[in-house]
């Protein structure tokens, strides 16, 4: 009887401790998921195309790591990962949002770059057609052949700048591709205006 009540007393004391210790495991599965989500966001180039969302995801993961460290420094029986779990969920959500924002941002950049590239290709074709029309003009002022040759050389130079834009597109450097395409567009537009002025001048 005395031994039995001693066992019961021991159980009453130790059982809660065992239960508490059993609850105090770091949420490793969730943590691994959150880290994987951050890596996915990195692969989606969130740092380039969604820098604010990326930073928020990094800060959220840092908060998880910090809380993990806090708990690791406590005596095992006093650890609680309830807050850690909440932070891990928030970090995974932030990473997922960063990934989505990164993909959306990249796609947007790709579309804008493609539109700029298509526009400049059309402009170059139009400029070539304008030059061909100029060549067919009935009125050919003095030095016409020479001027045409120089204009064709100019157009050759503009066409030679296109591969750099295309290379940036195929390398998925969409921001660079767009910038280069817009710069080339300006030069082609100026060239086209020069041809139009020449045609007007000679009443072509």
């Amino acid at each position: 009887m005395r031994a039995r009540s001693l066992v019961v007393r021991l159980l009453i004391v130790t059982l809660p401790l065992v239960l508490v210790a059993g609850c105090a495991k770091p949420p490793q599965v969730e943590l691994d998921k959150a880290k994987a989500a951050l890596n996915t966001a990195a692969e989606a180039e969130a740092a380039t195309y969604a820098p604010e969302a990326w930073q928020a995801a990094q800060d959220a993961m840092n908060a998880v790591n910090a809380e993990m460290e806090v708990q690791a420094n406590k005596f095992a029986l006093f650890r609680s990962y309830k807050k850690t779990k909440e932070l891990v969920v928030a970090a995974e959500t932030a990473s997922t949002e960063a990934e989505q924002a990164g993909r959306a941002g990249k796609e947007r950049a790709r579309q804008e770059a493609q539109a700029a590239l298509d526009s400049v290709r059309t402009a170059l074709t139009d400029a070539q057609n304008m030059l061909a029309e100029l060549e067919k003009c009935r009125r050919k002022p003095k030095g016409f052949k020479q001027d045409l040759e120089l204009l064709q050389g100019n157009l050759d130079g503009l066409n030679a700048s296109l591969p750099e834009v295309e290379s940036a597109m195929s390398g998925e450097e969409f921001l660079t591709a767009k910038s280069l395409a817009e710069q080339l567009q300006q030069r082609v537009d100026t060239f086209a205006a020069d041809i139009a002025a020449a045609k007007t001048k000679i009443n072509c």
Partner: protein, 342 residues
């Protein structure tokens, strides 16, 4: 005696840590593009500082060690400042290099653009000039964006392209200071003037480089006219269609006016002479003549000039007023000598 623990004097607030965090993040953002490994290094130190801070803040005040927090954040800021400083010094050096190169290249491109106004510049030179201007514009844009490394590379490429019109111009002008050519041209002019003195008649000398047509009478200068040449007029004529003005000794063979010419008035000369034919055959054998191109003909001194530039297919053009003054003073048989310069 109880010594109050240092922890009791820790007064950092969360906004202080936010400031430290933001400072570290700014440094990482600046490092990311060009020094990603340095950005990662600062990120790791930041993570560590966050962990140390979190652990310390979770302890009771009397157990905290604020110096550990100070040390960890201090390390973050020290490394961040060091890496950013290194990057900025590197950028300053690149910027200095770019500024120095850019000044030179701007001048070279401007000079090349000036050369493009000269006759003898063709499609190849125009393309090179266009590429030079594009690369220079790229260099300026990259410099504004702070990417001086790529700006320098673009500027160097602009320099390479600008060298093409410069080289063409140099090749074109070289022959005008060649002593052998100068002697030959001088000899032709002297022989022409001697003939004019001997015969007591007119003679025409065309100085291509000086863009002058000089009418001599009895070996003395009578009138000097401004002349316009072929679009490639400064080059020696090699074949039909090259738009070069020939050099050599010729004579007027036909005088045209009215409906006989579309150029107001014209003096047809007897190009090609035997030397021209000899040169043409040699060039053809050397493969320097385009397929189907003959030696050329119908080189004239004619009117409709006054364009202020070289534009003909190889002829020498004067204004109509000047043709009115020249035309009656020459006859069929008048010597016409065309030289590079004299």
């Amino acid at each position: 005696m109880v010594v109050a623990p240092a922890a009791c004097t820790d007064t950092r607030t969360s906004s202080d840590f936010d400031l430290l965090r933001r400072t570290a993040r700014r440094a990482m953002a600046e490092l990311q593009a060009e020094r990603p490994e340095a950005a990662a290094e600062v990120e790791l130190l930041l993570q560590r500082a966050e962990e140390v801070t979190a652990v310390q803040m979770s302890l009771r005040a009397y157990r905290r060690e604020p110096l550990r927090v100070e040390a960890s954040w201090g390390r973050v800021l020290e490394v961040a400042a060091d890496r950013v400083g290194e990057l900025r010094r590197h950028r300053s050096e690149l910027e200095r290099r770019y500024r120095s190169v850019a000044v030179e290249v701007e001048q070279e491109v401007a000079s090349a653009k000036e050369r493009m106004r000269q006759p003898g510049m063709g499609r190849r030179e125009a393309m090179a000039m266009n590429r030079a201007e594009t690369e220079l514009a790229n260099a300026r844009r990259l410099a504004v964006e702070g990417d001086f490394e790529r700006a320098v590379r673009s500027a160097e490429r602009a320099r390479v392209f600008a060298a093409t019109p410069e080289a063409t111009y140099r090749d074109l002008m070289e022959r005008f200071s060649d002593p052998r050519m100068l002697r030959q041209w001088r000899r032709w002019v002297d022989e022409t003037l001697a003939q004019s003195r001997r015969e007591g008649g007119a003679a025409i000398v065309v100085d291509k480089l000086g863009r002058r047509l000089i009418l001599y009478r009895r070996g003395r200068v009578d009138t000097v006219f401004t002349a316009e040449l072929g679009a490639n007029g400064l080059r020696p004529k090699r074949h039909a269609g090259d738009r070069a003005t020939p050099e050599g000794r010729y004579r007027v063979v036909v005088k045209k006016h009215g409906g006989a010419t579309i150029y107001y008035k014209a003096l047809l000369i007897d190009y090609p002479n035997p030397e021209d034919l000899k040169r043409y055959r040699a060039a053809r054998e050397a493969g320097a003549v385009p397929r189907g191109a003959g030696v050329g003909s119908l080189i004239e001194i004619h009117g409709e000039g006054g364009e202020g530039r070289d534009w003909t297919d190889g002829c020498v053009a004067l204004t109509n007023d000047d043709m009115d003054r020249l035309y009656p003073r020459v006859t069929v048989g008048t010597p016409v000598t065309i030289v590079g310069t004299f």
